[in-house]
Symmetry: C2
Subunit: 236 residues, 2 copies
């Protein structure tokens, strides 16, 4: 990481060329990469629950897209001289725990999880990209590219609720459980990984977001989540 790469150092504070910053970016990319790899597995499994080949193929395509993101993130780790496996390893327990505790019991739950989970992840990527150097930030934003898969999830879930309105209550509850588990595991990571947390809250020699800004970020993330639930026809 050279100082010239950290063009936004005014915004993120000085010190992006410190070893501490490399550790932080390694944590960030490692967490995102393992998140994508695990999401791939999960979506591929959920695709098998699909009622038709068309639905199955749509979810499988979404899974393959996660793996493309995974490749981008691990290539970046390698270019920083970091072994991707080493960077991902610390995040395996939290990411796995999230998925184990939110194992979809049917096709619709899988689809809501794909849509809501991917949405939260993308919003979080977009937020965090503001606190890292330009090169890392652009890369993180590049894996956000919308694939139009969201429309698919929305139309399928809405159709299912129109056909059986009782589904709305169960799926709304499911959406809340997804967010709850995501927050639980994110907190666990925040406590265990000082380096990663330092991207947001700063570190000696490098400013982060102040408390007010962290509060606003949290509001933005939950607002977006509510909007996504509404688009599915569900209360947040």
């Amino acid at each position: 990481m050279t100082t010239s790469e950290s063009g936004r150092s005014g915004e993120i504070g000085e010190g992006t060329d410190q070893p501490g910053y490399l550790a932080a970016v390694t944590d960030l990319l490692g967490a995102l990469a393992y998140g994508e790899l695990r999401a791939f597995s999960q979506l591929a499994r959920d695709a098998d629950l699909a009622p038709t080949l068309r639905h199955r193929s749509a979810l499988a395509t979404l899974a393959a897209h996660e793996l493309k993101n995974y490749a981008v993130l691990t290539e970046r780790l390698q270019s920083l001289g970091v072994e991707p496996e080493t960077a991902m390893e610390p995040f395996v327990p939290a990411v796995d725990a999230f998925h184990e505790r939110t194992s979809a019991s049917d096709w619709l739950e899988g689809l809501v999880k794909a849509y809501v989970g991917e949405g939260i992840a993308q919003d979080f990527y977009r937020e965090i990209s503001r606190y890292v150097d330009d090169a890392t930030g652009s890369l993180v934003v590049s894996v956000l590219e919308d694939t139009g898969q969201a429309d698919f999830a929305v139309s399928v879930v809405r159709e299912a609720i129109a056909a059986d309105p009782r589904l709305a209550g169960r799926l709304a509850l499911w959406g809340r459980r997804l967010v709850g588990e995501a927050i639980t595991q994110a907190q666990r990571v925040g406590v265990e990984r000082d380096a990663l947390a330092s991207i947001l809250v700063g570190a000696p020699g490098r400013a982060g977001a102040d408390l007010a800004e962290l509060g606003r970020m949290f509001v933005r993330l939950t607002d977006e989540h509510s909007r996504r639930m509404e688009r599915l026809g569900l209360s947040a």
Copy 2:
């Protein structure tokens, strides 16, 4: 299918513009497409059995590659005016039966299955591409592009056998079971789908392979399988 597209009509006989030929090509692409979609699911699941993140990511990448092939095949079906789901549906029972009867019980079995299964499929694609019109043939060959994943499987399996030579017997047996089940399901498809069978054995107004040529094809397929098993360090 226009006559101008079937440039090899001299080789495959006249009549590639007949409705029967479209039915045959639809069957071929439908069978291959569902095979790829199902292989995707299987590899994605087997990736979860991997002992390390590096191995897991390699198998997941192989899975994503199958899905790319799937997309190529279904786009071709659509361009022929055929709904991919309709084309795939008849092959779901045989392909699913193959995978259910050859469910890998551990990571190495999954890897041998990926390598051997993909190898047989690719050899078969290559053989059958000689009996269809040029446009279909080139497309089928385009999904053969080697991804270098084979080297990965070979080195991992050989290392495992070097560390525990008793594995060789079990995995050799496993390889034979894979081929046995593949032949069983292929025969089932051949009996049930006249249109597909007609690509190989011909149809009224269109010549296929004669018996001697079919025999030679079978020899080539089994020879290649034996070579693959040898590369893994296993007896065929």
